[in-house]
Amino acid sequence: MQTSHAMAEVPGPAPQALDYLNADYGIRSWLFTIDHKRIAILYLLMITIMFVVGGVFAAAVRLELLTPQGDAFEADTYNKLFTMHGIVMIFFFLIPSIPAVLGNFCLPLMIGARDLAFPRINLLSWYVYMVGAVFGTFAIVAGGVDTGWTFYTPYSTTASQTNVIPAVLAGFIVGFSTILTGLNFIVTVHKMRAPGMTWFRMPLFVWAIYATSLIQMLATPVLAITLLLLVLERGLHIGIFDPALGGDPVLFQHMFWFYSHPAVYIMILPSMGVVSEIVTCFSRKQIFGYTFVAFSSLGIAVIGFLVWGHHLFVSGQSAYAGMLFSLLSFLVAIPSAIKVFNWTATLYKGKISWDTPMLYVFGFIGLFTIGGLTGLFLAALGLDVHLTDTYFVVAHFHYIMVGGAIMGYLGGLHYWWPKITGRLYPEFWAKIAAVNIFIGFNLTFFPQFLLGYLGMPRRYHAYPEEFQVLNVLSTGGAPVLGVGYLLPMVYLIWSMRYGPRASANPWRATGLEWTTPSPPTTHNFEEVPVVTQDAYDYPAMEKKVA
């Protein structure tokens, strides 16, 4: 086993060739750019700001839960804090994170295209996101919203006195940004692959982004309809969901989760794509079972649409529908498990190196497995009655969405950072941060499994004293996790100016993006590449070196 996999540096003063970063200067060149790489940077900037905002709300929640008494915030304020944490993190950070940043930057490069199919629609998607962000910010500044990020009716349409409509419109608008991005990716993958880049030569990250885009296109319109109906009921008292007006509140939950459960796969599938890229590169092996990994992405995308009713087991949904959704929920574990087993098999007898992206991948595999398996607990009808609305659920989805999705995002960000900026980050600090995040994450969220199993409900600002020890552990983990997230923000920004310059292919990786200079030129490829090999032919590359 190799202990380190030193990144290749280019010695001496850097050549000042024109790339996408220095091809033009000034704020206008950024705000009116139609270059997919610059738009990725615009997204990176915004989602990082949103991540910090969502993180501040999370810190406030953990601070309140340090003691059993509700002493830091009023109950109503606490309701607003966890609601805004959820809305900001899900709609404004997690959903756009990998697709809009890494997907935008890498997808055209990976399939040998000069840009996405619709560059102007790509820029439009960022502006739509910004309009959504303005509504979201207004909802926060005007006093917040307290419905939970799920906006459940009839509370959201009849009782809540907070800024429900601006918050709902924020989700409604930002959804269209997602649809535009998904549409762009689907058309690009179908129409703009380089000669020789057949479907089964595409990198698995592209397959994952493609599957994600299908979900974005098919699910997000339903969210838009649902949120619009909510606004109509709240604003104009048209009875859709409120029983007093002849509506059905469970119908809201059906429609909301028809989008929001697949939305979890919008978050996790791109991360799985990142893992496939990194695990092959840092074990110097071809992926084990390419076709299975590729089709499991589509399998997750399709089956992921059939499981939403497991959010409604105790909501008054018919027991028969509950049985059906329980069975279907178990099925979605199969394609997820295929991926985990295939990544593990890829590691077998590989020349594994422990660079930062790989540390995140190991973190992902472990944490996602825990998150996925506890999902099976919740899919079991009887057990869910005990666990529903407890901290067990909170721990489960954070293992998926933070332990899984964010680990993948950070792994991918480090992996492609030399390509994005043309600079190398400090490996030592990056490793410290990765380990820090892993420890901090588990310290924060593992106690929550125990708390939930013992019966601590979610969404309360006070709790019985016997739960304090585990809550103190959880709150103690939060700053460790926070420092872990802060470190990359510091050293990645530092590396943009002071980091050593990166060569075109610092990881000795396969893939067309690594054949372009770091950073790439505005049009990516001087000549359209012709693909003659399968993806991840690391054994051939290793033979050449030997």
């Binding site: 098919l218 018919s318 529908a321």
Partner: protein, 99 residues
């Protein structure tokens, strides 16, 4: 394909059909058909949407990939409605089973 040119005659015929179907919706609203009320209204609506998609959106003359995309959309709508009905239509069964 998108290059196909549809004659004005066809467009006017479709427009006329849509107007007739709208009138049919209004007329049906004045007749109490009991449980069939919703079925009739939705059938007319689906017929109108199909005409709009086929002719005004040129689906009839589009390539196969476009048909696949539309079929996916319709299938997913079916999933939404079908699985939601699996709840709504069976809610009373438990009460019935318990007598």
């Amino acid at each position: 394909m998108s290059g196909h040119i549809v004659s004005r005659k066809v467009y006017f015929a479709i427009f006329l059909s849509l107007m007739v179907l709208t009138a049919a919706t209004v007329a049906a609203a004045f007749v109490n058909l009991g449980a069939l009320n919703v079925l009739v209204a939705l059938t007319i609506a689906v017929a109108k949407a199909t005409l709009v998609a086929l002719y005004f959106m040129n689906l009839r003359y589009s390539e196969r990939l476009t048909w696949v995309m539309v079929a996916a959309g319709v299938t997913w709508l079916g999933l939404l409605i079908g699985l939601t009905l699996s709840d709504i239509l069976t809610r009373s069964w438990i009460a019935g089973a318990l007598g």
